[in-house]
Amino acid sequence: MELAGSSVLVTGASRGLGAALARRLAAAGAKVALVARGERELAEVVDGIRAAGGVAHGIAADVGDKRAAHAIAGAAAALVGPVDVLVQAASTLGHVPLRLWLDTDCEALEQALQVNVVGPLRLAKLVAGPMVLRGRGLLVHVTSDASVEAYPRWGAYGASKAALDHLGRILGAELEGTGVRVVTVDPGEMRTQMHADAIPDADPSTLLDPDVVAARVVRLMLGAEGLANGARVQASTWAEGAS
């Protein structure tokens, strides 16, 4: 996937990996539409990209809100053109602090599914169709090792991310041969607000800088043609110097 001049939509773009990816993609010459709930934080990221000479537009919206889906996809396509790359980095943990399954309100699981699975499907549906007609496109879904490991207290988040992984596998199988690719990426543990919410006493020195991970994900995006469509991969495989 050529990034210079391409049209990119990034969710969860006001913080953490989403913000770092938006900055890196803009620096690579992509026109970037950024989505996040927090208008002020989002504006700071957009301003930063513009100050660095990049093209960026901020769309304040909640990806878990059904009504927001058309606004996000429509505004993005209007502002940066038909979307070539969709990066879905927005996520919610459910309860904070994390809770055991037996203490989890089912509404918290429903909310995690809305933001982490249903919302991503809504946006994927809205951008992948036109991508197929144009014969190219890339969908990147950000997952977590909690989607495969049975970490106690990570029920709502882990179950929703497992569903996202499989959403990507099936979508990739259905899009095989169209020129549109799906990749689900596990970024590894990062120094982010979300990680601090989940594990407040983690040693920051053991956590990755989101910008380092973003560089890996950009390398992955450039090499996505070599992956099976719908593959779930670890970003560390794309560490600089890794083969």
């Binding site: 539409a33 537009h57 901020g58 769309i59 304040a60 919206a61 009504r67 889906a69 058309h70 606004a71 996809a73 429509g74 505004a75 396509a77 209007a78 502002l79 053109g81 038909p82 979307v83 809205l126 951008v127 169709g129 036109p130 197929v132 007609l133 144009r134 014969g135 169209t178």
Partner: protein
């Protein structure tokens, strides 16, 4: 014909009347059977314009309630728009009370963060305006999606949401009203077409409004409309024709874009953006398009006139009588027809 009042749950079950202008044959089918009526090497061209939330409730500085309907993006925060009086889609457009007259500089307040300032009033039609919004860029798009609704008409059973009026392949929000011929083409059908060797190509055409209820204003429809033809589509059309395939336009908007684009360039299709005011009728000889999928438009409408470029009136009249007798539905959620010489 009876109007469809709501989209079918299973869009590929919409009916498809196959009209062959060469043999004069009519055949009843369903949209999911479209693949068997096209051949490998044929090219289906689709309009990927998303439908805008183009209906904006507003009030004038004097407090009069009005509705502003977006017709065409003029660039930046400027739009061509048509002003309607108080009320909404539940009243037939022809029965709507006229809006108060407005002058350049007047403000139409849509929401706390959004107003449209009248820049120009068309001297021929006092309801046809050029407006400039009070915000631009991402803030304008967010506000339009917050306050706007899809344009709809009185034959529909309830309030429409944007997801009711999008095709399965909608991208840039350019269309004032849904490019409805593409609505029933679910990906199950498009995937089967691809698997059978029918190629798909795309363009974007800013489908305009279909009716204002004002005879003078309606006579000016369709207004000039914007289109964008990608180079891949230009190549796909050339390849289809070179290999004996047929170019099938999905919707009148695709016919206008392809033929309008060719007319702007001496008969050649050229990639890029343009604006067309082309009106197609029985005298028009298509250079690019061989056939089309379209709705069962009302006799006398510009959409129905356009069909005369592909089939004679006697055949179309017979087809429309058959459709009526067989219970086909018309309007934007209605059934469709394929007008194409057998191949």
């Amino acid at each position: 014909m009876t109007p469809a009042t709501w989209p079918r749950d299973e869009r590929v079950e919409d009916r498809l009347l196959v009209i062959d202008p060469a043999s004069g044959e009519l055949r009843d089918a369903r949209v999911h059977e479209l693949p068997r009526h096209l051949a490998p090497g044929d090219l289906l061209v689709l309009n990927d314009a998303a439908t805008l939330p183009a209906s904006l409730p507003a009030h004038t500085g004097a407090g009069a309630r009005v509705e502003l309907r977006l017709a065409m993006h003029l660039g930046d925060a400027r739009w061509r728009a048509v002003l309607f009086g108080p009320g909404d889609w539940r009243t037939r457009t022809e029965d709507r009370a006229p809006p108060p007259s407005v002058r350049p500089g007047n403000e139409l307040r849509i929401g706390p963060e959004l107003a449209a300032i009248v820049e120009h009033v068309d001297p021929r039609h006092p309801r046809l305006l050029a407006v400039r919004f009070s915000v631009s860029g991402a803030a304008l798009w967010a506000a339009l999606y917050r306050h706007g609704h899809p344009v709809q008409y009185a034959h529909v059973a309830g309030d429409l949401e944007l997801w009711h009026v999008q095709t399965p392949f909608a991208s840039r929000p350019w269309a004032a009203e849904m490019p409805s011929a593409g609505r029933p083409l679910a990906w199950s059908v498009l995937s089967e077409l691809r698997a059978r060797g029918v190629r798909l190509a795309v363009l974007t055409h800013a489908a305009g409004m279909s009716s204002t209820g004002d005879p003078d204003l309606d006579a000016a429809l369709p207004m000039p409309e914007r289109f964008d033809v990608p180079s891949a589509t230009v190549l796909a059309v050339a390849r289809a024709h070179a290999e004996g395939g047929r170019v099938v336009a999905v919707g009148t908007t695709v016919v206008r874009a392809l033929e309008g684009c060719a007319r702007l360039h001496g008969g050649e299709l050229v990639a890029g953006e343009g604006t067309t005011d082309l009106r197609i009728d029985a005298r028009f000889r298509p250079r690019v398009v061989d056939g089309m999928v379209t709705g069962l438009h009302e006799i006398g409408s510009s959409h129905r006139e356009l069909l005369h470029a592909f089939a004679g009136e006697a055949l179309l009249a017979r087809a429309w009588s058959h459709a009526e007798a067989a219970g086909y539905l018309d309007h934007e959620f209605g059934d469709v027809c394929l007008v194409l010489r057998g191949g």
